[in-house]
Amino acid sequence: MLLAGGEGKRLELLTKNLAKPAVYFGGKYRIIDFPLSNCTNSGIDTVGVLTQYQPLVLNTYIGIGSAWSLDRKHGGVTVLPPFQAQDRGDWYKGTADAIYQNINFVEQYNPKYVLILSGDHIYKMNYAKMLKYHKQKEADVTISVLEVPWEEASRFGILNTTDDLRIHTFDEKPENPKSNLASMGIYIFNWELLKKYLIEDAENPHSSHDFGKNVLPSLLQDGKRLYAFQFQGYWKDVGTVESLWQANMDLLDDEPQFNLNETGWRMYSVNPNQPPQFISRNATVNRALINEGCLVDGNVDHSILFFGVQVGAGSTVKDSVIMPNVKIGKNVVIEKAIIGENTIIEDGAVIRAEEGQQREITLIGENSHIKADDAVGLEVTKGV
């Protein structure tokens, strides 16, 4: 069950018309491609995607799931928006409530285990390994954890465990963390048990219906077997403009920690089917990811171009992420920016942080139109 209803407020303009999981990432992908591809690669062929905020693009994008081989006769991918039933009907009030409202969906498949994922993290993970561990430990719940630097531990949900990784307490953003094992928001539950707790939780008027705040603590309180599964590898929450930009830049290292080219664990995505990129006679391209359909006539350094981007002669794109179909004119300078899709940038425009600007990364929303004399400050939204 993939929780993809997040509004993603901290991504500001990028999530004005989009749910966070539908935000573009890595020159080709949307964030939700990563958990969905992980499911496919882990052999999970029945996935429910819980949507709520701005679902249009996300729904269209997921379609019948063929991009991830999830167009199956039995199972496959099902988009689960909130709905109105005869006796009730509501928005999803919290992560646990979202699953509670879809108990019928899960019951159709009569599963033994349920994997709960969130749709806003960049990582590669074999959930089959986690399930194997869950069975080995005879656990009731397994939570995937990541060792974070001690000084950052107070920003996360921290799990305190015994030596064999059984969880005894759970601290949400503790001031003085006792451990540096942070929850990644990935859970495996025994379904029968989870169902019981979800129903109880739903009946509790004081609950905020959240896994981290309510369901997991009451499971712990009842002495259930909760285990931590240690994840190793690249994992990034791309919930802010800074982290989204940084995670994109991470892909540009000579030997990136997160390798998109790995053939054993492919990331799937809806392919746009455009011609190969054209790098012109006058272009220079260095440390870049460039997708099909791009026409580069200028200079691209340490940047990511999504499909269908044009960079005019004499223009420079540096340390930036350019989303699909952005047309950059001639002699444009773009530095440390994220440019939303379908934006037009006219000849001679300069987009970079000015001195005194609050933030170093300049963010331009989708469908904008930037003229040469526009002073591009912190954020610009124009056009549609």
């Binding site: 890595g26 011609p275 012109s280 006058n282 220079t284 460039i290 997708n291």
Partner: protein
């Protein structure tokens, strides 16, 4: 839809030496991510045609692999769609010969299709053509058959092998010739009503014909009203290694590239799940087409890189065509070369071909 399509590969020879040892010409990779057949299929589906048959005779494994159920072109439909029709000689009473065998053996395809007209094409003419326009011309002139041609500005060696049209002022085809110096290059595409097609096929088989277009149409110009339709867009013919090489590099002309790929009709192909191309620190790429999944650390100039090619540091690739998943290791130097898929060029090698006669390395070689 009013037109059904036939892609007739029966008369196309294995004209590309090493590149067609194990595949038919229509399946040869072209332009960084396509196969030759993609152009004609895309043109057909762009015109709204959704019954498309491929007459293929030899080496069609890779062609079938590429086309699949036709998903890339939205041809995986419940009714109609894509039909790959290899030859079938099980009928002992069959007296047909040549490509007429294909028409004869696949009469069901024509009977079942709802379209009233048929467009028949080969796969060697690369273009971005609006078949609807040709079809309207066909209806307007009330022709029996409409053949499509390109008036070329300059005759190139590859045009020598093409048939040419002699037309009247009204656009009626008077002769189909093999003349060397005629600019009206016949593009191996024609439109005919299904009814007339079936009549001509039957008549042709009864009279011992073997080549449908030449015997049943080109030889009957006095009895049939054959109209010529001029295609005015970008065009190349691929019928030799030289023309393959030259016309791939022709895509590096921005205007040509733009007209072929960025017109309202797009050319589609089977998609692969490759990540974007990755340019490492020190990469030096100019005037090139690069497919997704490439990892480039070396120098690439005036070249076409298909998907998933690796160019290591210290490698220099010039005026070359590098097909899928080739690996060019360090301190190598290649110029005027065509590498077929999965070739590995090991450290320190030098391969220099001639501009007129590029060096072709067959699939999966390690050099």
């Amino acid at each position: 839809m009013e037109i059904m399509g036939v892609i007739n590969l029966d008369n196309e020879q294995d004209f590309l030496n090493e590149l067609t040892y194990f595949r038919c010409g229509a399946a040869v990779p072209f332009g960084g991510r396509y196969r030759l057949i993609d152009f004609v299929i895309s043109n057909m589906t762009n015109a709204g045609m959704n019954d498309i048959a491929v007459f293929t005779r030899k080496k069609y494994r890779s062609l079938m692999d590429h086309l699949g159920k036709g998903k890339a072109w939205d041809l995986d439909t419940k009714y109609g769609g894509l039909f790959i029709l290899p030859p079938d000689w099980n009928d002992p009473t069959d007296v047909s010969k040549g490509d007429l065998q294909h028409f004869h053996n696949n009469l069901d395809y024509f009977y079942r299709g709802k379209a009233e007209y048929v467009l028949i094409s080969g796969s060697q003419h690369i273009c971005n053509i609006d078949y609807q326009e040709a079809y309207e011309h066909h209806l307007k002139t009330e022709a029996d058959i409409t053949v499509i041609y390109k008036k070329v500005d300059m005759l190139e060696p590859e045009h020598k092998q093409c048939q040419k049209l002699e037309t009247s002022h009204e656009g009626r085809v008077l002769k189909v010739t093999n003349e060397e110096y005629n600019n009206n290059v016949y593009m191996n595409m024609y439109i005919v009503s299904k009814k007339l097609l079936l009549q001509l096929v039957e008549h042709g088989i009864a009279h011992g014909a073997s080549h449908f277009f030449n015997d049943c149409i080109a030889n009957e110009l006095e009895n049939l009203h054959v109209q010529a339709f001029e295609y005015k867009g970008v065009h190349s013919v691929i019928n030799s290694v030289q023309s393959f090489y030259k016309n791939n590099l022709q895509l590096l002309d921005p205007e040509f590239y733009h007209e072929l790929f960025f017109s309202e009709q797009t050319i589609l192909t089977k998609v692969k799940n490759e990540p974007p191309a990755r340019y490492l620190n020190g990469a030096n790429v100019v005037n090139s087409l690069v497919g997704n999944g490439c990892i480039i650390e070396g120098t690439v100039e005036n070249s076409i890189l298909f998907r998933g090619v690796v160019v290591k540091k210290g490698a220099v690739v010039k005026n070359s065509i590098i097909m899928q998943r080739c690996e060019i290791q360090g301190n190598t130097n290649i110029e005027n070369v065509i590498l077929d898929k999965d070739v590995t060029l090991t450290e320190g090698k030098r391969l220099i071909g001639n501009e007129q006669m590029p060096f072709v390395i067959p699939k999966q070689k390690v050099i």
